[in-house]
Each structure stands twice: as C-alpha cells, then as structure tokens.
C-alpha cells in the first residue's frame, strides 16, 4: 500500500445528472494498484451509476477519469476494455447454449484467415484456470453448470482479456458460503498479483473480510473513504444509512402455538425438467414461529411456494391450512388465510403500470369496504392507501397516485409488505423479502416479520441469504434438489455446516454426496 502513492484509476469529482435527479454528485473514487476497494451504499446511492460511468455507458456532466494518472475518455464499453477494465455483472452475461470455452473467448476470438484458433485459446484458459484454481469444465454448456461455476467463467473471461482492473458487482449474492470463501481467496490472490479490484456490495461481513479500503456513497453523494482495518461494521452501516442502524435482529425466543400449515408429501413438477422440482416434501409451521426454508437458488424453493400458494398445481400431496385441506383450492381460496410476499416483486407482486393505491388493494378490492355492487369506492381506497403509506413509511413521488413503476425497489417491496401484512392472515409466506434491499430497509422488514410472529402469525420464510436465515428464523429446513435434507435450530448449527447441507454434501439421513 505504501510503496505506490499513485492510483491506477481515479474518478475525480464525477457528477452525473438525470433529469430531476443527481445520481452522482461530485464523487471521487481512487483505486490503488493491487488493492481491493469496496464500494458500499444503499440502493439508489449511485454505485451502479458510478460504475457505468467508469464502464463508458454514461458520460458524466462533470469530473474526469484518469488511468495511471493520465486523463482518459471512456465513451463506450469497448474503450473500457481497451483500458483493461473488466466487470463481472451481478446477472451473468453468458450464452447459455455455448460451451464454457466458447463463452470465454466470445468477442475476443483469435482467428486465422477467418477460422477460430480454439487450441491456443484453450491452452491459455487452461493455464489461467490452473494458476488461480478456478475450476471449470471447458466443454460443458453454460446452462448445465452451477451458478458458482458460471461466475468462475465470468472471472476467466476478464483474465483471458488480460484485464488489470476488475469490477465485481454484488458477486456473492448467488453463492454458497463455501463458494464465497473461495471467491474471497481468489480476489485476494488477484490483489497480491497487482490486479486492482473494485468490489460493489452491501454485505458488511464480506467487505470487512476482503477489502483494504471502503468508499461509502449515500443518496448520490460521497460520504467518505476509510481503511477497512480502522473501522467496523456498525460504523460502516451508519455511514451508509446516515443514522445508527440495528444490525442484529432483536427477538425473543419463539413461543410456537398450534399448527397453522401442514404440508404432507408435497410434489410439484418442474417446468425445466421431467423430475419433480419439489419431491415428497413434508413439514409444518406453527403459530408464532418463523420457519425458514434455506437453500441455494434453484433447489425447488420457488416451486414449493408456487405449490403452496396455488400458482402452480401440485402433482401429489396434501396441504392443510388452518385445519382446512387446501390441496386443490384456488389461489383466491388459499388467500383467505395466507399472505404471500412473492419472490419476484415485478412479476407477481405489483402491477407496475398501476398506481400505488391500486396496487395496495390488489388482494382486497373485492371486500365490501372497497366496493359496492361492483363499483370501486375510490375514496375508501385512497384513505386506506394513505394510511398504509403512512404506517409502513412507503416513500414515493406523489403518494397514493404514484405509478408503481417509478418507485425505488425498496419502496416497492415495502408497499407489497404493507399490503400483505395488513391483511392479517394466519400464515405469511415471505419469499426473499429483503432481496436486493439495503440495511435500512432490511432492518425494517425483519422488524415487521418478527412483530407478526409475536402477534401469533405463522411465518414461512424462504431465503437465500444465510445471514437472514441465521438471524431471523426459529427453525431452519434445508432444501436440496427439491427435498428437505435436514431440520436445524439456528442456535446450534454453524453457518459452515448449514452450507454443507445446502450444497448437498451432507444430509440428515446420511445419504450425502461425496464432494
């Protein structure tokens, strides 16, 4: 750190305005050679905009970018590539039906008289993969490999192009704890070699573990840059949110009451393959407890929820809710005793072109308080909507009449949560309720879920975030390839052990695969 005072990349006083909003207001980010520099901020803080400026997707209104002390113009992503800047996007940019090798060389193919020179490319990729321990199967198709391996493919893509500045955008969101550890090790290895890394995240644990310095943005403004070793999680989150934040979920031990949901031998067919996505799953949720389904994305969680809520038909099994058999009930009948915070807030949760108030009554517009003889009571809807907005602190441009599409993701999620929790149903199915949200919003949503639990609701939480699983749940069920492979008490199991179950390396009945 101390030998090289100069920076490889400097973004000086960058200002990027969108009509009406200043996304980046005089932001300075200086990246040293060989450091891991974390960029921390809430949603809408301007992290992605800043990276888009660095990547040439946006032109800033003011400020300049320097590479090795020399001012550069980055007008498009090709310029960025020429400057050896590479990026791993949160949503991978891979061609599913191409092989791993084809994906890596795509766009940077070496050709001889128009013919691909794959052999040389393969050698180079193999060497890189060997050197950094990035294990990939070069001849597998991308659609057949795990998410973790897809990320390694993305990293190899950057290395293959000899990039020196590597940007990782929320890289750990999709990984298991083991994979996260491997990624951290790889990043440190890169840094040791003199590559410089920009690491976008809002997960404080990871930032503390891997980064050398942290730059914090808040609402488009630069808050400060600190050395990681001189700070701690609480200080960072306070910087990010601008007020003291409760990081740990505060809750008393659960006092489970009667059984609210009982699932027996449930099977839900998959849309992707011929096997069952959910395979003979049985469990129950009692009043006053939070039961969490933990697992890596794509192991049948979504289908399990679809089967429970009626969005998909179950092929076998029995579901009992509040003593009633709802195995064949319609979505609406199930909704009589069930709230559902859906996984995909844009697909299922909201009608984006509707106003906020119309979205807030999406589940309840048929109730007599909102309609009479088929006519919507506009005033009643407005009053209810204003009340929910106030109560749940949903922020939007124009209140009740704001178009849902124009709201920020956090507030869209808050609106859904307001709608679902206010319905006061015995069972709350919450699927990744905090996905993509920042610590302030997460704190709020966790608080609301605990409050519901304490009021005697049964809560079924589906989450991919281990932190959330460990801190929020009273009971953990691990799902792997559509089957429940173990039930744990969060107080007695370690994150590491949970990870092994999630990855299928261990299971409670001893049938675990060998790694």
């Amino acid at each position: 750190m101390d030998k090289a005072p100069e920076y490889v990349v400097e973004m000086l006083h960058i200002t990027k305005e969108f009509p009406g909003i200043i996304a980046n207001d005089d932001i300075t980010l200086q990246l040293r050679k060989g450091e891991i520099h974390a960029l921390l901020g809430e949603n809408g803080a301007g992290k992605s905009t800043l990276m888009s400026v660095l990547f040439g997707l946006y032109q800033p209104e003011a400020g300049e970018i320097r590479k090795d002390g020399v001012k550069v113009e980055i007008n498009n992503p090709n310029d960025a590539t020429a400057l050896k800047i590479g990026m791993v996007h949160q949503h991978f940019k891979l061609v599913d039906v191409f092989t791993v090798l084809d994906n890596i060389i795509l766009g940077a193919e070496t050709t001889k008289m128009g013919f691909l020179q794959k052999k040389a490319a393969r050698k180079k990729v193999e060497a890189l993969s060997e050197k950094y321990g990035l294990k990939v199967d070069l001849d597998a198709k991308v659609e057949d490999i795990t998410v973790g391996m897809q990320q390694r493919v993305e990293i190899l893509k950057m290395l293959y192009r000899d990039n020196e500045i590597l940007i990782f955008d929320e890289p750990t969101a999709v990984l298991t704890p083991q994979e996260i550890e491997e990624l951290m090790a790889t990043m440190k290895e890169f840094a040791k070699e003199g590559k410089s890394i920009l690491f976008i995240s809002h997960k404080l644990n990871e930032i503390m573990e891997v980064s050398d310095r942290v730059t914090v943005l808040r609402k488009g403004k630069y808050v400060g840059t600190v050395n990681t070793r001189d700070t701690d999680k609480q200080a960072l989150s306070n910087m990010m949110v601008g007020r003291p934040v409760q990081l740990e979920v505060v809750k008393t031990p659960a006092e489970p009451g009667e059984e609210v949901l009982k699932v027996e031998d449930l099977c839900v067919p998959s849309h992707l393959h011929k096997r069952n996505a959910v395979n003979h799953v049985s469990f129950s949720v009692r009043a006053g407890e939070i039961v969490c389904i933990a697992g890596i994305d794509g192991n049948g969680q979504s289908e399990l929820v679809y089967g429970l809520t009626g969005l998909d038909k179950a092929s076998a099994g029995k579901i009992t809710l509040c003593g009633k058999d709802i195995s064949h009930a319609s979505i609406r009948q199930r909704g009589e005793n069930m709230s559902h915070i859906p996984e995909d807030r844009h697909k299922h949760g909201l009608v984006l072109d509707f106003s906020l108030e119309q979205n807030l009554v999406l589940q309840t517009f048929r109730e007599p308080r909102f309609q009479k003889g088929g006519f919507i009571k506009k005033d009643a809807v407005r009053q209810y909507s204003d009340q929910l907005i106030e109560q749940f602190d949903v922020r939007s441009g124009q209140g009740s009449v704001t178009v849902a599409r124009s709201m920020s993701g956090g507030n869209q999620q808050k609106a859904i949560i307001a709608r679902e929790l206010d319905r006061q149903k015995s069972l709350v199915v919450a699927v990744q309720p905090t996905r993509g949200l920042d610590v302030g919003a997460i704190e709020y949503i966790h608080g609301q879920l605990v409050k519901e639990r304490d009021e005697g609701k049964a809560i079924l939480l589906v989450s991919l975030e281990l932190d959330e699983v460990m801190s929020l749940s009273d009971r953990i069920l691990v799902i792997y390839e559509g089957e429940l492979v173990g039930e744990f008490d969060p107080k007695t199991i370690s994150v590491q052990e949970l990870g092994l179950y999630m990855a299928g390396a261990k299971r409670a009945d001893g049938k675990g695969e060998q790694q």
């Binding site: 969108f18 009509p19 009406g20 909003i21 996304a23 949603n43 809408g44 992290k47 992605s48 905009t49 990276m51 888009s52 990547f55 040439g56 997707l57 946006y58 498009n76 992503p77 090709n78 960025a80 590539t81 590479g86 990026m87 996007h89 949503h91 940019k93 795509l106 766009g107 940077a108 955008d169 969005l311 319609s330 979505i331 909704g335 559902h340 807030r345 844009h346 697909k347 949760g349 009608v351 984006l352 072109d353 509707f354 119309q358 999406l362 589940q363 517009f365 309609q371 088929g374 006519f375 919507i376 506009k378 441009g397 178009v403 599409r405 124009s406 920020s408 993701g409 869209q412 993509g436």
Partner: protein
C-alpha cells in the same frame, strides 16, 4: 395563482394526451392542405382559387352549403352534412370502442372487422326472419341488435379462448377469425333463403331491414338534421361509450381486466382468474364491434351488399385510428369517431364542389394515424425535458435498483465481453 392552476392543468396527463391528439389532427389537416395546394399548382385544370377552395373545404367542409350564384363557396349550418356525419360516426364509435377497450386490457383486437361482419350477418338475418306482422318491429329491432352484439361477442371470444388456454397470439388468432368470418358470412348468405329479398336490378345480394319494416327509431334527430340519414343509433353508441368508460375506470370488473392486461402474473397472484378475464375482455370487445354493425344495418335503408368475399369491412379497421387518436379513452372515442366521419363528409364535399376527389381525406387520416403512433414523442415534446425528469425512465436510471432497472452497467452490445 391562476397561472399555477393553468400550469398544473397543462402538466396533467390527460391534458397532454388531448393536446397531442389535437396537434396530430392539426398537422394532418395542414398536410392535407399542402397536398391540395401542390396538386392545384401542378395541375392545369385547377386554378389557384380552386386550390384555395379545396383548403377551405378541408377545414370547414362540414359547414359547406354549396356554391352561391356567383360560384363562390358558401358556408353555414348544413343539417344534412351534420346528420350524416352523426350517422356515419355510429359504427366507428363502436369499432373504436371495441379496440380501445381491448387495448386497455392489454389486448390488440385486430379482429374487429370479423366481429363486425358476424354482427352484420346475424342482426340482418334476425331482423329479416322474424315476421313483423306477428312481433312488433321495435321488439324485432331489439332482438336483432342483441343478437348482433352476441354474435360479435362470441366471435371475439374465440381468439380470447385460444390465447388464454393455448397461449396463441391474439393478433394472429384475430386475423384468422377475420377471414373465417368473411367466408362464413358469404357461405351462409349463399345458402340462405334471404336471396329472395334482393332487389332484382342489382347484382349480388342486397339486404336492408326496411323490407321487413325494421328500422332504428329516429328519436327526433331527423327533425334536428332534416334530409340526413341520422337516427337514434348514435345515441345508443354514446350511451355505450359512457358505459364502457365507467366499466373500465370505476368497477371491480374493469380493475380486474386492466390488472390482467397489464400484468397477467400479478393478477393471477392476487387470485384474479386471468384466463376468464382474457376471454371476457375479448368478448366485450367483440360484442361492441358486433353491436356497431347492428346499429348500422338495422337503421333500415342501409344496404348490405355482399356478392362474394372481397375484403373485410373497412369500418372494422378504421376503429384502430379512432382508438389511437382517442388514446383508448372511451369518451374520447366518441369525438375521434365524429372527427373521422366528418372527414368522410369533407371528402364528399370536395368531390361535389371542387375538382379534387375524396381521396385527399385518406391522406389526412393517414397522416393523423402516423402522428398518433408517434403520440408519445409528441407528448414528450409538449411536456419538455423538465417534466421528463420525473418520468419513470429517468427515475429508474438514477436509482439502478438491481432487479428493476435495465441496469446501466449492463452493456447490451456486449462491449464488456469483447
């Protein structure tokens, strides 16, 4: 204070839409005038004053009362033109409604011509086959009207069913049902016994309900607009337009239909029966088109001429520009349909009074349709860049929430892969 209220009015979405449509109309009329001028200047037969007459007719042809003794154009209240305008607008209001209502629920009903044809056939057959010496003509009219609407509704439901249950594209299914209707109607008239009712002097079959004494009530409109074909049909159309406005905006059914149209998944999530609603909104849409045909052909002396299928009824397709110009607002559909039929009358006046023909109005309509399609651009121009800042697109870009935004840091061109 007043200025504030004015600018607030200007900033309202509805005002913007109205201004955009009015601007489209104005530009359309100006383009028509320019073409009249160019044709006038390049043609030996037309003098400059002839061209000037043409331009004046484009803007005020509906008030033209012919030429004075000196050969100058005269203008004033022309009850015949106005009455005919109302008469011709009637089916246009209905097909415009058909398309607007479907569009509000997320469906593009290009099947209106087919639904209109089915409505035509069924209402004519019913009106001609129930003996009026046994059943009062008013009752026959009502039965025939309802039957026509029902036929349109059933025909419209077909693409709805195909879409909801087999996931077949609505537009494709609609186009198919159009031609199915054309052939079916030809065949059914061909094998029917109504041929006997054709006037012998004309080729092909011509049907009009006056043979059976069935005709739409005039509702006193013939007193207001003497010498025109106007009848109570336009009143029925206006009532239906208002009913549709209420249905879409004020009822739970409209709310459900719109929710399905806007986001089928979210509607399903909320326990709304998405499949039923898709079929229902296509049926409503088809029913409106069918009712439009019934209103037109049940008027009594309107002739339906059908030798063999040649083309689909233009009024079905003309519903599209009517709905476009009205930005799919059922109330605005009344006015845009009136405007379109006014252009028809203007075309006739041009043919009658000048060396131009009625096709000049097609140019105007075409221009307006293009401009309506660009209505969004015009609205953006009207609102200026400042307003645009508050629009979703920019807000999204500024707050790149991972799952929502077309995330800025994701170059589509694959520059990062290069």
């Amino acid at each position: 204070m007043k200025k504030n209220r004015l600018s607030a009015l200007y900033a309202k979405d509805g005002t913007q839409k109205l201004l955009a449509s009015l601007l489209s109309i104005l530009i359309g009329l100006v383009v028509g005038s320019i073409i009249v001028l160019i044709v006038g200047l390049t043609s030996k037969n037309i003098s400059l004053s002839g061209a000037w007459d043409g331009i004046r007719l484009i803007f005020a042809g509906i008030f033209s009362t012919g030429r004075s003794a000196t050969g100058a154009l005269t203008f004033g209240f022309n009850p015949t033109s106005l009455g005919n305008m109302l008469f011709r607008a009637t089916p246009l209001v209905m097909t415009g409604l058909s398309i607007a209502v479907a569009y509000q629920t997320g469906l593009f009903n290009i099947g209106a011509p087919g639904q209109y044809l089915m409505g035509t056939m069924v209402s004519l057959m019913v009106a001609l086959s129930i003996p009026t010496d046994l059943v009062p003509p008013v009752l026959v009219w009502i039965i025939a009207f309802l039957a026509g609407a029902l036929a349109g509704a059933l025909w419209g439901a077909i693409p709805g069913i195909l879409n909801a249950f087999l996931n077949i594209n609505v537009v494709l299914a609609c186009i198919m049902t159009n031609w199915l209707a054309a052939n079916l109607v030809t065949w059914l008239f061909d094998i029917s016994s109504f041929k006997n009712m054709a006037e012998g002097t004309k080729t092909g079959y011509i049907y009009k309900t006056a043979y059976n004494g069935v005709a739409t009530a005039k509702c006193g409109l013939d007193k207001l607009f003497p010498g025109s074909q106007v009848n109570g049909g336009i009143l029925v159309a206006i009532v239906l337009a208002i009913a549709m406005y209420i249905l879409i905006n004020k009822t739970t059914l409209g709310y459900q239909l719109k929710a399905c149209g806007s986001n089928r998944h979210a509607a399903r999530y909320a326990g709304i029966q998405d499949k039923r609603n898709i079929v229902l909104s296509m049926a409503i849409s088809g029913g409106l088109a069918g009712a439009g045909a019934a209103l037109y052909y049940l008027s009594g002396n309107t002739e339906f001429f059908w030798s063999t299928y040649q083309s689909l009824p233009a009024v079905g397709f003309n519903g599209i520009p009517v709905a476009l110009l009205a930005v799919n607002n059922p109330i605005a559909v009344i006015f845009s349909a009136l405007f379109m039929s006014m252009l028809d009358i203007v075309g006739l006046q041009m043919t009658n009074l000048t060396a131009y023909n009625e096709y000049i109005t097609d140019v105007i309509i075409a221009t307006i349709v293009y401009l309506s399609a660009f209505a969004l651009v015009i609205r953006m121009l009207l609102s200026g860049r400042k307003k645009h800042g508050g629009e979703p697109a920019a807000a999204k870009a500024a707050e790149p929430e991972k799952a929502t935004a077309p995330v800025p840091a994701e170059p589509e061109k694959g520059g990062d892969e290069a």
